[in-house]
Symmetry: C3
Subunit: 360 residues, 3 copies
């Protein structure tokens, strides 16, 4: 194949990137369902360039983003009832990666096949399985997340691309003490309040749970707009880290009207789903939904909550990308830990263990 000889540039780089290590044999969130509708979606995850598409019957598939004829990205192609068709010479691939049509040619070369990835769509999310060598098939179901199907909540979400490695977002979400400095004008509020909040950290299996309580405190602007609080509130933040995503349950009740240990307590709730999926060693996707139970003008409040969440995550993105760029500028300098890092450091140890364990 004479075409091959062109492909010499950057090979070493690409190969190096492909061998970068992330935990394998687990499900990652690939996209929100709403991102994969009538057009193919090209997205690199864990250094794998992948095309996601939905056939007219509704089935989502994930293939290597490459026609095996001349390497055109299939994400530039078109969706057919039986699969996805390349936009250069029309080769058609089914959901298993097999080429099932070469226009103008009756025999299909036996090597005309590309990689397929197991995917599963579940409650507004598309999950993808990354297995280790010889472990291509999923050995478990994707994590469940009931909030998206719970009628008590409205929700929406979005996808952000980050110029930073994915674990920096774990760090950020596991330490909400930054709210007072980074998000002063939305969900934050008083900085000292956050820094001094009572905090418990508990690790269990591959999860870490961080709970912070702020009794008898002033509700932040987003809260009072969405819910008719009478005055001060008892406020909580509960963060559960899983290797593929974090659940963040925050909210407040009127002061002294419920126990913050009662899982069925009332008041105002924000239930955030925060998936962080590596794109490359240095970049990632942050895919989030925010659910809530606003009682004052629910639709308007919900729009406000989503807008303010987006604004909040925009602020985080600026901070985290600047942090990573600076980590590279100061790569030889040590960092120091402070009290708020306990949860984040636990999560980093879990990821480190999974990387070793599951790639063996």
């Amino acid at each position: 194949m004479t075409v091959q000889q062109i492909k010499t540039a950057d090979v070493a780089d690409i190969q190096a990137a492909k061998h970068a290590k992330f935990p394998l044999n687990m499900w990652y969130v690939a996209a929100l369902s709403k991102e994969v509708q009538d057009k193919p979606l090209g997205r690199t995850l864990l250094n794998h360039p992948i095309v996601f598409y939905r056939t007219p019957s509704g089935q989502v598939s994930a293939l290597e983003d490459r026609c095996c004829h001349r390497d055109l990205p299939l994400s530039l192609g078109t969706i057919d009832k039986d699969g996805i068709r390349c936009g250069y010479h029309g080769l058609l691939f089914d959901g298993t990666g097999k080429c099932i049509e070469v226009p103008g040619q009756s025999k299909i070369p036996s090597k005309a096949i590309i990689s397929a990835y197991p995917v599963k769509e579940q409650g507004a999310l598309i999950w993808i399985w990354f297995g280790s060598e010889g472990n291509a098939e999923p050995t478990c179901e994707p994590p469940t997340y009931d909030v998206h199907t719970d009628e008590r909540y409205l929700y929406d979400g979005d996808k952000y691309h980050y110029q930073a490695p994915y674990q920096l977002i774990h760090d950020n979400l596991l330490d909400l003490s930054h709210l007072g400095y980074v998000h002063l004008h939305t969900i934050g509020g008083n900085a000292k309040l956050h820094m001094n909040a009572e905090m418990t950290v508990e690790a269990k299996g591959d999860s870490v749970k961080v709970v912070r309580k702020m009794p008898n405190s002033t509700p932040p602007p987003t809260y009072t707009a969405a819910y008719p609080f009478k005055g001060n509130v008892d406020r909580w933040q509960e963060i559960i880290f899983h290797p593929s995503h974090l659940e963040i349950w925050t909210g407040a009740v009127d002061v002294n009207t419920a126990s913050l240990d009662d899982p069925e307590r009332g008041g105002f709730h924000l239930k955030g789903f925060h998936a962080v999926t590596p794109e490359t060693d240095e970049t990632c996707f942050y895919i989030w939904t925010q659910a809530s139970n606003p009682s004052s003008q629910p639709m308007e409040s919900m729009k406000l909550i989503i807008d303010q969440s987006a604004m909040t995550f925009d602020e985080d993105k600026v901070v985290i990308e600047a942090q990573y760029a600076n980590m590279k500028r100061f790569a030889d300098k040590p960092m120091i830990d402070i009290h708020v890092d306990v949860g984040a450091n636990r999560a980093r140890r879990i990821i480190a263990r999974l990387k070793k364990q599951k790639q063996a």
Copy 2:
């Protein structure tokens, strides 16, 4: 020279690029004549940064794009009746690369000379000779192309810059079966028609000729706008590959009114000249003209033909650049050949042979 010590960065890169191999001892198309008028044109070809300029008397010259005093690109300078003058301290160079004036200084240093390249202007095109070591002078004339001086045709053209190696454009032009998928809305038409067309491929010396016939077929939109066809047409595509450029002759006659083997047949003709000249190992210039003999409102039709050709080449550029980027992402994966690749693969073997042969 203390200035020299600054110039350490990127040297290895640049040197590596300069030794990249392209066929030498041949003429390449450098530019359309209309691109080199009253201002210098800086253009890198085969990894050589070159300035092209036309003196008031009309003579085109090509020099190394560098003043030998402090390395300012001469393409930022001004044209003088005797040559080109540097825009920093005013040194003047003639068409042989010799410095013939240093303002404020009577003696001109003997080393004040830069490289000159043989160029020849011929029928709307500027050709440049790249010789191998010790073979600086042309050993033949540039290829002829009579269409630009043939009164039966109107023509115009343009220059495109590609983020892709030049042979990917050869592949594209030698396989017009992509018309049905990439250019559906202009010169393409029915995809299956193209894929199933009778095709002959013939190699002779350094050329490859691909002929495809599509008898009794529906004319595509561009054709019917420019020519009063009565209904179905006998349509042809004839592609001749040369190492420096391709000639593509396409057209149609009313069905059964002429033999597609008669070189003097009537009907509607599109005569494309497609030069592809490497800029660097990974980039190139695509310099094209399109000639035609529209009979319905010739000027309007010609404008339409040029506009649609440009639109078509825009579509190709998107595909080819995406293809190359993806080739790098999937550098370790094999490609497979299909039936339409015969012509392109022949051309690749010719370039491979010329690279070996002429650099010896």
Copy 3:
């Protein structure tokens, strides 16, 4: 510290850059005073990323631009009366680089300290000391520049970022013969006049002085707009190079009305201060002020002088950046010297000597 393991990319690059050599144990201009007011300023100088800030009491400090907790640039933080506060978790650093507050934590880790740089503000300029290993404290005062406090002159200035190494700007400023080619329409005028001007070059210690005289010549457009010259003028250019900056004194008197050797002569004066401070090995900051004594409509003339100076320096920036890009493209080709290079070459020898001497 598990966070550290992320920081592997680009380390070699960064380390290489940090060991690049510039003269040390001297003061460089960091910024104009007006650049450091109520917001922190992040600026890399000599490959050191630094944050400059002014406390409410007016004191300017310069610290490593990095919170030692998680590497966020302090330049994204906020100014406090006692120092600068990180915008992520609120750590507060004083002007010596010591962390003096960790919100929510009573004990401050003893290693919570970052580098501080000696700075001194003096006559509209902020100077910074870069010492060699073990030589952190300044051993002398910053250079003085009296024009900014001389009531006879009005002045203003600006800061330019250059994609070129700093010594190329020295070259440019030490050889004003380029005025006739690069700045034809502002301060330049007749090219031959500049090239043929009588020139003396004198080196003394770490300084070089270039004097050019152009008696009985036509005043350039900027001059005649600002000053009521009667006709031809006796014009001068006096350039003094220092390792951190250049002083350029240009001007003119009516022909035969004063000696160009009389330091107290009248006429129209332009006194330029031109600091050039390396950012990285390949980039720099050009920080300039232009002072003058316009007699015709002083405020309007001054605005014109600053506008035309900026336009002039824009023209230089285009030339110098193109020059450097081309030096890299032609890194293997020699340059030749001409008569106008005497001053610039002397300055390069001084910098070369200082680099060796002061780093020992």
